[in-house]
């Protein structure tokens, strides 16, 4: 028995050794190092750097372009938030009696797996001011006056980019909601139908309580996703014109790898991390506490 316990210990230790070592070296250490670097003026090259206390954080709070970038993140957040009821409705639709439901399910999720860089270029073409398809569609409906410089007009470019983000990621939420809806036990739904519940009552009293956990996840995913918008503006506008379509993550990445200010960039990275963790806890405490309370 003693030797079995020893063998068991040995197995656990050896099997976890490599994955844990990799995780510590490439995830935990850099994660902690971000905090340390955020108090230095390291430029990414020199072998030395100076401790400058809270200077990076002070710089960060006074940086107007960074605040503008954060405001742009908020646009993605609200656009996606408004879409959640639509996504939920679509999941209910796909879960109901419907011909070709399987085909529609395939289609709704396809944007999520398509190459993000390729589709960003495809949308650059779609919204292009020269021979762009979107302008042609507007012309076909005699809406010539609606034509804009979709990607270079600072007042609308963010919404155009957010629409690309919607195109790419909405299907993911639909599929998540659909999976949650499919986990509702069939017999409960059938019993409710026999008792004369209409589609809305079925949704409100049977389906909603079952999918609250997924709604919770999607809300958190939306915050995390909106905070980390990066590749769509990176490919389509490089954050321009000026900083009009920059985002917090894009600004952070540029601060490090374009302007070699790793210290300041680390402070920004720490800020992103703290914001995500904060939202995670607020959501766990408040939303879980309030909405899921009655579920026990």
């Amino acid at each position: 028995m003693n030797s079995l316990a020893k063998k068991r210990k040995q197995f656990i230790f050896l099997a976890l050794l490599i994955p844990t070592a990799l995780l510590i070296a490439f995830v935990a250490v850099p994660g902690v190092d971000l905090f340390r670097m955020s108090f230095t003026d390291w430029d990414g090259q020199s072998s030395t750097s100076h401790f400058i206390a809270w200077d990076n954080y002070a710089d960060m709070f006074q940086n107007k372009d960074l605040w503008l970038s954060l405001k742009n993140n908020a646009i993605y957040f609200f656009v996606h938030l408004c879409m959640i009821p639509v996504e939920l409705a679509f999941a209910v639709l796909l879960n109901s009696k419907l011909k070709a439901a399987k085909f529609y399910r395939t289609m709704v999720f396809m944007p999520y797996i398509i190459n993000g860089v390729a589709i960003s270029y495809a949308f650059s073409y779609f919204y292009s001011p020269v021979n762009g398809a979107f302008d042609s569609i507007l012309k076909a409906f005699h809406l010539n006056s609606w034509i804009h410089n979709w990607l270079s007009d600072p007042s609308i470019a963010n919404y155009v980019l957010a629409s690309v983000s919607l195109w790419r990621f909405s299907g993911y939420h639909v599929i998540l909601f659909l999976a949650a809806l499919q986990s509702v036990p069939q017999d409960i739904e059938e019993a409710a139908e026999i008792d004369g519940a209409n589609a809305f009552q079925l949704f409100r009293h049977i389906q909603v309580p079952h999918i609250m956990l997924m709604v919770d996840f999607v809300l958190f995913d939306n915050v995390r996703g909106a905070m980390q918008v990066f590749d769509i503006p990176f490919v389509m506008t490089q954050g321009g014109p000026g900083f009009a379509t920059s985002t917090f993550t894009l600004y952070t990445i540029n601060t490090a790898f374009k302007y070699s200010n790793f210290g300041l960039a680390s402070a920004m990275a720490v800020a992103i991390m703290l914001m995500i963790i904060l939202v995670y806890f607020i959501q766990n405490e408040i939303i879980h506490g309030l909405i899921l309370k009655d579920k026990g």
Binding site: L4, R8, K9, I12, A15, L16, I18, P19, T20, L22, F26, V27, A28, P30, G31, D33, L34, L93, S96, L98, A100, Y104, T106, M107, F109, Y112, I113, I114, N115, V117, A118, I119, Y121, A122, Y125, F126, N131, A133, S136, I137, A140, W167, G171, I175, A179, M214, F217, T249, T252, I253, A256, F257, A265, S266, M268, A269, M273, I276, I277, Y280
Partner: protein, 275 residues
């Protein structure tokens, strides 16, 4: 009866609109890819030209960096996914089945690893990769995908929790050691989860732009995705050429999706129902 039919028709219309929205940017790009330079100006972007041409595709396919990118993508993918499967299944099995000292620490570490935002961590990881002399080698993306992309743990843990514990016990009673138990009994049973991990990881790696862009600036180290970025920069303004490149780079993951969507959908939802 009649009300039911009307509702069905409305549902179908909504779904068809959705399909059109999904396909529009892809089809319009395909139309452009099939046009000559003259057709780009003379025909509406919403229509196919009178005579389609494949010369734009020919031009992309003759670019040697496409094939270099293809080869690099395959190498990165094969090595990363192999280790993701091996290490991911073992880690998930141990976390899920064994109680040991420091279990809470290990689980907490992996959970924190999943919570850390991916893009900005590179600011600190960059130094480590450079220190290991992996910068500008295929080793950089490979080690990062193996070490830091942890979604396989969700998929394996969820699957392992459905396997009966009695299986382990009887195998051990029969004199099997722990390694034999894992590799000869557990791992084969995990093959549906492994299929899911392989497909989802492959798609993630093929589509990733950021890690290869950041760590492999040399043009002999292009991947399919970073090749497209170079190609786009070289084609300024000639959309018909770029469109052909876009369509070609989209193809591999679309094909994988069409054939293996069952695995993809099950794996994607496993990541969400965590904790």
């Amino acid at each position: 009866m009649k009300k039911g039919t009307v509702i069905q028709i409305i549902k179908q219309i909504l779904c068809i609109l959705m399909v059109m929205l999904v396909l529009a940017p892809i089809l319009l790009t395909l139309f452009a890819a099939l046009k000559t330079k003259a057709d780009m100006v003379n025909t509406s972007p919403l229509l196919l030209p009178a005579h389609i041409t494949f010369s734009n595709f020919g031009k992309v396919l003759r670019n040697k960096y496409l094939w270099i990118g293809f080869r690099n993508t395959i190498v990165i993918l094969a090595v990363s996914v192999f280790f993701n499967v091996l290490l991911g299944s073992m880690t998930a099995y141990i976390i899920e089945r064994f109680h040991f000292r420091f279990r809470a620490v290990v689980v907490g570490l992996f959970f924190a690893g999943m919570l850390i935002p991916t893009f900005v961590t590179e600011i600190a990881r960059f130094k480590i990769i450079k220190g290991l002399h992996l910068y500008n080698t295929l080793g950089a993306p490979i080690i990062i995908y193996i070490a830091a992309d942890l979604m396989q743990l969700y998929i394996y843990r969820q699957f392992i929790s459905t396997l009966p514990v009695s299986l382990d016990e009887s195998a051990l009673l029969d004199g099997c050691n722990y390694w034999g138990l894992f590799f000869r009994i557990i791992f084969p049973l995990l093959s549906p989860a492994t299929a899911t991990v392989v497909i989802i990881k492959s798609i993630t790696i093929i589509n990733d732009m950021y890690i290869p862009y950041l760590y492999m600036p040399s043009n002999r180290l292009r991947t399919l995705t970073t090749f497209l970025m170079d190609y786009a920069n070289a084609q300024q303004g000639s959309w018909q050429n770029l469109a052909a490149g876009i369509i070609l780079i989209m193809l591999p993951t679309i094909v994988l999706y069409i054939f293996f969507q069952k695995y993809i959908l099950s794996g994607i939802t496993a990541g969400a129902v965590k904790e």
